[in-house]
Amino acid sequence: MDRVTGKPRLATVWLGGCSGCHMSFLDLDERLIDLAGRVEFCASPLTDYKDFPEADITLVEGAVANTDHLSHIRTVRERTRTLISFGDCAVTGNVTALRNLFKIEDVLDRAYRENSTVVIGIPCGNGVLPRLLARVRPVHEVVKVDHYLPGCPPSADTIHAFLMDLLDGRAPSTSELRFG
């Protein structure tokens, strides 16, 4: 609960994904206004928190694909009461994990050598950039996940029903959930 407002604190996190799940969240459209009355939005790409705060509910979009994601999701897990894998990339790896079918070197080579006209350096894992993980993983392979909200992306209606269930203290219904 937020100390000031007494409302549950909702965070969203974006790892290796396209942000489509966040966009679908925004597709709640005017329902966002009602939602704002029920939760305190904290860390999110839509708000202005950078250091991940304590959160009651966190929606995690995207797969765990690099070392930054890995350390970030661990922090998020520590500071979150109910963690939700949000969308197919987080739940299954989805398209992001298709790179697991290739060697990392080949993937980097295609992007930064074959498709470049000037090659000054190949990025990956120097002091500033995170290293790519050998294997893109769904979130639950890395940290414990409490609920799953699959879909690419999950529709706004699905997200809404899911959040309402959670906020009303019901076990979220899984009957509408679907990959893809």
């Binding site: 930054d68 000037v118 120097n126 500033v128």
Partner: protein
């Protein structure tokens, strides 16, 4: 011994980014870099897949502008088939492209920029979001939400799904918007136009209050690149490429997007996952150019729709030659939204929009195809090679945000030099560095928390990368 300041994370541009500021022995900013830390490898992971699946697969590059990728991909597919896309299908594609421009720009302006612009850069961070705007000015916020909803609704009605509609296919589109869809869209138009009037008239006076930021954050000469009609008007779906310089002179015109590789090059640096496209005749890194709303308005002669034309004429008067202040991306965005709504209305009134002749079918007829269009953030190219069975051999994607990469780095460096004094770092200084990035709207929110307080982790590092000092805002 030089030092390096790392800003991490810069909030959200296609995932995560960092900014590092290098400090020389004299304690002055020597250079600054903008590092994109996200990489997913679409150019490789598509390998072996049938090209017919590319629009659906490539739309997953971005959830904000999936339609752009669907279109560029479908157009590359059109080339592989070697067909002429039926004109009704072209209209469907144009419609959805305008809808996408509308929703993406609405997101950028109302959801992400407006909080800073309307609430002020020093307002409380908890309030500095669309919900804060809702409290302050519910009507304005609701208009923003509804404008985005309008764009998304068109995509849903035409494409079947708001995000990642797999409706564009090589040769055309899967379905048309239909009469019911058209009728619904027409009912939205008056409100949408009214909302644009409200937004534009709110933004203009705000701009006048930020002269420092406008002049010093990403204000420099570069080339501007955009697609235009052969006559030189705004064009988002299919046209020729024109390049103008900072003075507004045309550097190149009538370039065929299919031949992009002859005039655009891409450089790889080990410190960013986003590459550095450049204009080949000027070489790397000299060939900096900007794309996106600002570039399009600088490049195009006129909009071709009455309301947008009025605004565009006024916009062009903000500067001699091209408008070089990156801050004016915001206003350019609003003008493009207005233009999109006008175009959507035109398309809705065109009887051909209901035609069911929307798909040309053919076998594979070429082994290489390029598709391009104007995405919300700039010109987008998809370049595919397939084998004789139509399986992808390789792809090259030249994405709008990347094309602004050199300019964004320049903006970062300019802002750092102007505002950062390494001896006594204040958060406000670094925030401005970040804000420079956000003008470009590199995909998500970065655009707009432009100015004002941002929670940050600031790391001061020396040359060897050792952590010297860490500053964290709670």
């Amino acid at each position: 011994m030089g030092e390096r300041i790392v800003i991490h994370p810069v909030t959200r541009i296609e995932g995560h980014a960092k900014i590092s500021i290098n400090v020389d022995d004299a304690g002055e900013v020597s250079s600054a870099q903008f590092h994109v830390t996200e990489f997913r490898g679409f150019e490789k992971l598509c390998e072996g897949r049938p090209f017919y699946e590319m629009p659906g697969l490539m739309s997953r590059v971005c959830g904000i502008c999936p339609v752009s990728h669907v279109l560029a991909s479908s157009k590359a597919g059109d080339r592989l088939l070697g067909v002429e896309v039926p004109s009704a299908a072209v209209k469907q594609r144009r419609l959805v492209n305008y809808a996408q421009l509308l929703q993406s720009h609405a997101l950028s302006f109302f959801h992400l920029s407006a909080p800073d612009l309307l609430l002020g850069m020093d307002s409380a961070p908890e309030k500095r979001n669309i919900f804060g705007v809702l409290e302050r000015d519910p009507d304005f916020a609701r208009r923003g939400i509804r404008l985005r909803q309008f764009g998304q609704r068109i995509i849903e009605l035409a494409g079947g799904k708001r995000i990642h509609p797999a409706w564009g296919v090589p040769g055309g589109v899967l379905h048309s918007i239909g009469a019911a869809g058209r009728d619904e869209i027409l009912t939205w138009i008056p409100e949408a136009l009214e909302s644009m009037d409200v937004a534009i008239s709110r933004l203009k006076p705000l701009l006048d209050s930020l002269p420092q930021e406008i002049e010093n954050m990403g204000n420099f000469p570069t080339l501007f690149l955009a697609t235009v009609t052969p006559e030189g008007d705004l064009e988002y779906y299919d046209g020729v490429i024109r390049i103008v310089d900072a003075e507004g002179n045309t550097v190149a015109d009538g370039l065929d997007p299919m031949r992009y590789a002859t005039f655009l090059g891409e450089a790889s640096e080990e410190w960013s996952y986003v590459k550095f496209p450049y204009y080949k005749p000027l070489g790397y890194p000299g060939g900096k150019y900007r794309v996106g709303p600002l570039a399009r308005l600088n490049v195009a002669r006129s909009a071709g729709t009455p309301r947008a034309d009025r605004e565009m004429r006024e916009f062009k008067q903000r500067s001699q030659g091209a408008v070089c202040q990156s801050f004016h991306y915001h206003l350019a965005r609003l003008i493009e939204m207005l233009h999109s709504i006008e175009r959507i209305q035109e398309l809705m009134e065109d009887p051909e929009i209901l035609s069911e002749h929307i798909r040309a079918k053919a076998m594979l007829n070429r082994l290489e195809g390029i598709g391009s269009c104007e995405a919300p953030r700039g010109t987008l190219f998809h370049h595919y090679h397939v084998d004789s069975d139509g399986l992808m051999k390789k792809a090259n994607l030249l994405i709008a945000t990347a094309q602004n990469n050199l300019a964004m780095n320049m903006a970062v460096e300019q802002t750092a030099r102007r505002f950062v004094t390494p001896r006594s770092i204040e958060e406000g200084m670094l925030n401005r560095v970040e804000a420079a990035i956000r003008c470009f709207d590199p995909c998500l929110s970065c655009s707009t928390h432009a100015i004002g307080q941002m929670p940050l982790i600031i790391e001061l590092r020396n040359h060897a990368g050792d952590l010297l000092h860490r500053l964290e805002r709670s």
